[in-house]
Symmetry: C2
Subunit: 336 residues, 2 copies
DNA sequence: AACATTATTGGAACCGGTTCCATTGTATGC
DNA sequence: GCATACAATGGAACCGGTTCCAATAATGTT
């Protein structure tokens, strides 16, 4: 592998000159520029990442921490971030694993440091697994973080999130608009902020419309297929008829639909179902799923770019507003 | 960030000694060892990845090239690889993008080189997008590659793949064993090797049992939900009744089931459906999906470890045999 | 033509590890 | 007690870039 000194020798210039050509700043005469470029071409020269990192103290790598990557939505989002980072020649690595606040709460700050030194210039913290206080502490000592799907007032410019409350409200309102008043619900994962908020928003919509939802028709899920399925079975057993079901995400909506179908209920004639996320498959389920679409990708890219700005003194454009959108398909029936 | 020289000074030893402690090879007296360890602890020392890479000429990073990473199966697999690599402190990056043989066939070798120098010690080539000849050329100049889901005789020890033919055969045989003889099929993506092979295996099973499948009942899909849906509609229009349907993967099976259901067919009473992959949701569809489970994760980990052996002179255990498994659920009905 | 400015250029020093050789200390054999 | 072998140690040189300053060339000014 050719080095900068090889190039300098071949082009009969000093290494400083080659470096200037590489970086593009510093004056270089057009004659010299040509010579150097030819030499680089001839030697098939590529600068060493390691050498650059050593002096710049930048690893050109950012980490992502805290999320499940098994769900389709998150996968799609990750993919988008990866694609976006390619342009900047920044690598994305999964930084979780060591850092497990639930196992050893005191160790998390330390392990965060270790994580950084292991090779990330910055970290995207996805979700709200870490307590806000702890995140603030981290941010104080290590400012190169952004938060995805989490909101902390004091560092709002580093936070990228949706108004899940509003989205939940929209779902509830939609069911009511369609004439439903006996409504059940399989919540998302209530230990996460977003799961909680979409649930609160949903409840508020019912409340604002004087629709009552009995305790028995609220099943606490966790976004998984499994809980969606179990939740539907549970709700059926409560002996409290309902005509509509709000699910915390599409995954649980789909498995809930399966459970209901298997038990002889027709969707949407007997029970309407509304999901949340707009997965790829949502338009191909039977019936096609009414749901709420969330521009996760745009949000994730903004979180990523904000981090790049922080880490590498760039000034990429970012956005903070991510409006959600109700997607009406056929799983909710109008019964007015 | 503390350096090795800081540690050496604090421990009153030479930098060589610290280095010896770090690497663990070279004699160090127990007294010295203790001193050095204490100093490292006190300074919260972590060796610099960049400096190490510079001298070792290893980036401790491997790349993965050539696959879609948006599907659930592939993502699950990637996740598994990342987890496995964590132990060895190796990063996994997505190396595709530049390298696009279809766009610019001549450039692919060159860009492969550039890719390597950009920071991968080795590359996992996933799938069969690149012609075998080209892969052999690459392998010749740059031996640090392994192939995932692709088979090239000459470098069989670097190839990790399933017998998709056999798996397809098992699916076909299963439908026949259950008494079906009017069978339709929505193929996988026939431009890929594995899509093609599972289809051939399926056809052979029918053939070996003297079951005929008319051209009209073979719909060429591409693994997407969309084609599964369209395929089912297409098959229904052919006016050739069938009692069983084999789909190239679970995704298309699921959307095909939706399309069939929406058109009034009950699964499995009217039409049996068998999928391929065993996605997470397969057990929660309605009805739960009979499918073929493929130990993708184990295969991927072996491909990864084989690459580690190549890149870093390790001797990790690897396996080459990955038996597939028929998962019987409720979407195939016995009609004998 | 003499001098002041500014544009180019070369290369030493440095980043933080590893490698390797020279040196010192310690144990063993006779 | 002395030679020999080997364990333990220190540190210069190096990996391949970037930074920065001194040196030189080119250009403008009077």
């Amino acid at each position: 592998m050719a080095t900068i000194r090889d190039v300098a020798k071949l082009a009969s210039v000093g290494i400083g000159t080659v470096s200037r050509v590489l970086s593009g700043n510093g004056a270089v005469s057009s004659k010299t520029l040509l010579k150097v470029n030819q030499a680089m071409e001839a030697l098939n020269f590529t600068p060493s990442r390691a050498a650059r990192s050593l002096v710049s103290k930048k690893m050109n790598t950012i980490g992502i921490w805290g999320t499940e990557t098994s769900g389709e939505i998150n996968r799609r989002t990750l993919r988008e971030m990866e694609t976006d980072l390619k342009e900047f020649e920044i690598h994305l690595i999964f930084a979780d694993g060591d850092l497990n606040s639930s196992k050893n709460p005191n160790a998390s700050r330390e392990s965060f440091d270790r994580l950084i030194s292991k090779g990330c210039d910055g970290i995207i913290i996805w979700g709200s697994d870490l307590p806000a206080l702890e995140i603030l502490q981290i941010e104080n000592e290590f400012p190169n973080i952004t938060l995805l799907n989490n909101k902390i007032e004091l560092i709002d410019d580093k936070c990228f999130y949706f108004d899940h409350y509003q989205a939940g409200y929209v779902c509830g309102q939609h069911l009511i608009d369609k004439g439903h008043s006996n409504i059940a619900c399989i919540t998302g994962w209530l230990e996460t902020d977003d799961g909680n908020q979409r649930h609160q928003g949903f409840l508020s919509a019912l409340n604002d419309n004087n629709v009552n939802i009995p305790e028995e028709l609220i099943f606490e899920g966790d976004y998984t297929y499994r809980k969606g399925y179990e939740g539907a079975l549970y709700l059926l057993k409560q002996d409290k008829p309902f005509t509509a079901l709000f699910c915390g995400n599409d995954q649980s909506a789909m498995s809930a639909i399966s459970a209901l179908s298997i038990n002889g209920f027709n969707i949407p004639n007997d029970i309407s179902v509304i999901g949340y996320d707009d997965m790829n498959i949502a338009r191909y389920t039977s019936p096609p799923l009414t749901t709420v679409r969330i521009p996760f990708n745009r949000m994730a890219v903004s979180a990523t770019r904000r981090l790049l700005n922080l880490c590498y003194n760039l000034e990429l454009n970012i956005e903070y507003d991510f409006p959600i959108q109700l997607i009406e398909r056929l799983s909710v029936k109008n019964i007015v």
